[in-house]
């Protein structure tokens, strides 16, 4: 972790800006120039458009692109460059207009860039123009060839992680292990200058015409002195690193001929020579290994019987691209004398593979499965969006049980709270029944519900069974400010209907509903 923290940070917080220019800015008709756009952002975050909006006279073709993340002060700053190869069909001043691209999810404006196309352009300096040279361009598939990228000038080549110079093209394989680089002084147009050379081996893997170009990052390309004789506006400095690319080179690659292929051909292409095979000794003993050296190859032979008189011929052939034919280079037999001896246990496996015994542990292909077998999903359940939702079911159930248990324990410790709660619920029930009776003009039912409501509301204060309460109990709870007359009136009517069995005058009861509502509100507030 400390190692990770000690690594310099990559700057991805600075506002992304883009710099666009033509290199060179003045060309002749039909000459190639590079339209180069550089961002201070990571390449993967930039949504570079497939097609650029440009004047019709400019023929544009995507070129190299890449990124470099150099250390600038305490942090690493990413620079990403997109090159576009441009050729103008006519003279004039052309402008690739300003456009917007997405970087880090935000819009970044790429400024406009001007190209001047004149009939007699100034001669360009060879300094910092990347060139590519192949030893051969007519190749066979699999035939390795040397390739050099040459960069005159002293700006140097920069890379991080990747090879300093990349060779880009479809159907090629670059041997990184065979690469080398050097700086030499060479003459260009009569000028001696340091020249960077990167050399490696490239192998075509597909037949056909393959296009290959080299690309690399170099330092700031400004060179020479600057003289300002009058007022001048100096534009912002160019990015410190420039992505150079060479002109593409076309390779003509032919497939290896099928006819004439010899035994022992394992893909060797080129020119091979075979020196005479050297055997460690010609006097052998059964079971004792002996070395057979041929050029840089070395074979270990173990005689398994004393009946042999020469080493076996080892077939080897290669394809000679110059002659266009396969060449047999079989390693010839060497006469030996084998004395009797015992085969050591170490070589018993060799004997087995020679077919003397079958290896029981040798893997074999199984038969068909008789049934579809175990079913399931190839997507891990854990990554399914349903998985956390399913886990919420037991979590919710346990949370509900826990909450219920907590409430139950609380009510057990505070039974009066439960009584009041139940009384409030019963009061609301009776209250609603009372209002329904009032709407139906059923005075008897209205009186009964009113009395029940008052009883259930007062019961927790004693505590007592609601039906055991009488009017005076209610009045006592209401206190001196209560509507005692109203309460008594209702109890009188209710008692009479229950106990006397005579009809009572209930005509004025419904008119007392407002007073009764106040009584019930007072009782509810005391619960």
């Amino acid at each position: 972790m400390s190692l990770m923290l000690s690594q310099p940070k990559v700057d991805i917080t600075t506002n992304v800006t883009a710099v666009a220019s033509f290199d060179p800015p003045i060309v002749g008709p039909g000459e190639q120039t590079i339209y180069r756009v550089t961002f201070n952002a990571l390449e993967e975050t930039i949504d570079w458009p497939r097609k650029l909006n440009a004047p019709d006279e400019l023929q544009m073709e995507p070129g190299a692109h890449g990124q470099i993340i150099p250390m600038l002060g305490p942090i690493q700053v990413p620079y990403t460059t997109f090159n576009t190869r441009v050729r103008a069909s006519a003279t004039g001043d052309f402008t690739v207009p300003e456009f917007k691209v997405q970087a880090y999810g935000h819009e970044v404006t790429v400024p406009s860039a001007q190209l001047k196309v004149v009939s007699t352009p100034p001669s360009t300096s060879p300094i910092l123009h990347l060139a590519i040279e192949f030893a051969e361009t007519n190749l066979f598939v699999g035939q390795p060839t040397r390739v050099r990228a040459i960069l005159p000038g002293s700006a140097g080549v920069f890379s991080q992680g990747l090879p300093p110079v990349q060779f880009t093209g479809q159907g090629i394989l670059v041997d990184q292990a065979a690469s080398s680089q050097m700086v030499t002084v060479t003459s260009h147009d009569g000028m001696n200058m340091p020249t960077y050379t990167f050399q490696t081996v490239l192998t075509p893997l597909e037949a056909g015409n393959l296009s290959v170009f080299a690309q690399c990052f170099t330092g700031n390309r400004f060179a020479g002195s600057l003289v300002i004789t009058g007022p001048a506006m100096i534009p912002a400095p160019p990015p410190p690193f420039t992505l150079l690319e060479s002109s593409p080179v076309s390779l003509t690659v032919r497939p290896l001929p099928k006819e004439g292929e010899l035994p022992g051909f394992t893909g060797g292409i080129g020119t091979f020579k075979l020196e005479p095979a050297k055997l460690g000794t010609n006097e052998l003993v059964v079971g004792e290994p002996v070395k057979l050296a041929v050029s840089t190859f070395q074979y270990t032979l173990v005689p398994l019987t004393d009946e042999i008189h020469e080493t076996p011929a080892i077939p080897f052939s290669y394809f000679d691209p110059v002659r266009g034919a396969y060449v047999d280079l079989t390693i010839p037999s060497v006469p030996v004398t084998v004395h009797a001896g015992e085969i050591p246990a170490d070589f018993s496996t060799l004997v087995k593979t020679n077919g003397a015994f079958a290896d029981e542990n040798e893997p074999v292909l199984s038969g068909l499965a008789a049934s579809p077998g175990w079913t399931g999903t190839l997507l891990p359940l854990q990554t399914s969006p349903l998985f956390p939702i399913v886990q919420l079911i037991p979590a919710g159930a346990f949370l509900g049980l826990w909450t219920w248990d907590r409430r139950r324990r609380y009510y057990e410790q505070h039974p009066d709270v439960l009584l009041r709660k139940r009384a409030r619920r019963a009061l609301h029930r009776e209250w609603r029944a009372m209002r329904r009776a009032a709407r139906d003009k059923d005075a008897a039912r209205f009186a009964g519900s009113a009395v029940s409501a008052m009883r259930v509301a007062c019961a927790p204060h004693y505590p007592a069974e609601p039906r055991a309460l009488v009017g005076s109990d209610i009045v006592k709870v209401l206190g001196s400010n209560g509507q005692s007359d109203t309460v008594r009136r209702f109890f009188t009517v209710s008692d009479a209907s229950h106990f006397a069995g005579t009809s009572t005058d209930t005509s004025g009861l419904l008119a007392l509903q407002p007073e009764l509502e106040k009584v019930l509100q007072q009782l509810e507030s005391r619960l």
């Binding site: 880009t168 093209g169 479809q170 893997l205 199984s366 399931g376 190839l378 997507l379 891990p380």
Partner: protein
């Protein structure tokens, strides 16, 4: 309303007919087996693949791998057998096929970390069930005696401890399943491993069909993969994960 009912009936009959045409996974499995027995490997691949698409099953994928192998598609065969083992890791026949194919094609098996090896002991999705059941059992044993007004017995605590232990032990396997889900296999012969995610990019090396690699990230039509020896970009169509996204 009539028109709506008529439309509904047509839709239902259409769905029913298409279901009948597609056939059930078992029927397709039988069709594939029959085709395989008469050496119609292309037909067998089609039937087994349809069956596995409807309902992935270890036997179907095993047989699909065999058919692919006989057609010379080493990458697809190895992928199918790995998928079969993902569902049923106890199948010795499938394991033997993988060893055989890798020996013949001179391919390596994926290099697994210790927690990935642990995750291969059981079918990948069993770990999710084991973790869920063990965790909630432990929670239940802690909570329920109190809620049910029962004295906490020794066995309650033993079950809770066992559940918690199983849950904790299953965590490395979960991580293993998660990381193994990013293992895939090269599907095409001589797949170029590119330096950058573009068609014209420089090839670092060529990968054989069936070579294992781990998916690091994706960009457009390219996947950044890490093999046992190198790292680079391959085309999306040339690489397939064991855990295909359904």
């Amino acid at each position: 309303m009539k028109w709506f009912l008529l439309l509904l009936a047509l839709c239902i009959s259409g769905i029913g007919q298409s279901a009948l045409r597609a056939g059930s996974p078992e029927e397709l499995f039988r069709d594939g087996t029959a085709a395989f027995r008469v050496a119609d490997y292309a037909g067998a691949i089609k039937a087994f693949r349809q069956s596995a698409d409807i309902q992935p099953a270890s036997g179907t994928l095993h047989d699909l791998g065999l058919a692919e192998w006989h057609r010379g598609h080493a990458g697809a065969a190895i992928l199918s057998w790995e998928q079969s083992l993902w569902l049923e890791p106890f199948n010795t026949g499938t394991r033997g096929n993988l060893r055989y194919a890798r020996k013949i094609a001179q391919l390596e098996a994926p290099e697994l970390t210790w927690y990935e090896v642990v995750s291969t002991w059981l079918p990948a999705n069993w770990w999710a069930w084991i973790a869920g059941i063990s965790f909630w059992s432990a929670v239940a044993m802690v909570m329920l005696p109190g809620i049910l007004r029962q004295p906490k017995a020794a066995w309650h605590q033993a079950v809770a401890a066992l559940g918690l232990t199983v849950f904790l032990l299953s965590i490395p396997a979960h991580i293993g399943v998660h990381t193994r889900a990013r293992i895939g296999f090269v599907q095409q012969k001589d797949t170029p491993l590119r330096l950058t995610p573009t068609k014209e990019a420089q090839s670092v090396t060529r990968l054989a069909a069936g070579e294992p690699a781990r998916l690091e990230r994706q960009r457009g039509n390219y996947l950044l993969v890490r093999t046992n020896r190198s790292e680079g970009w391959v085309e999306r169509s040339q690489f397939a994960l064991i855990c295909r996204r359904q």
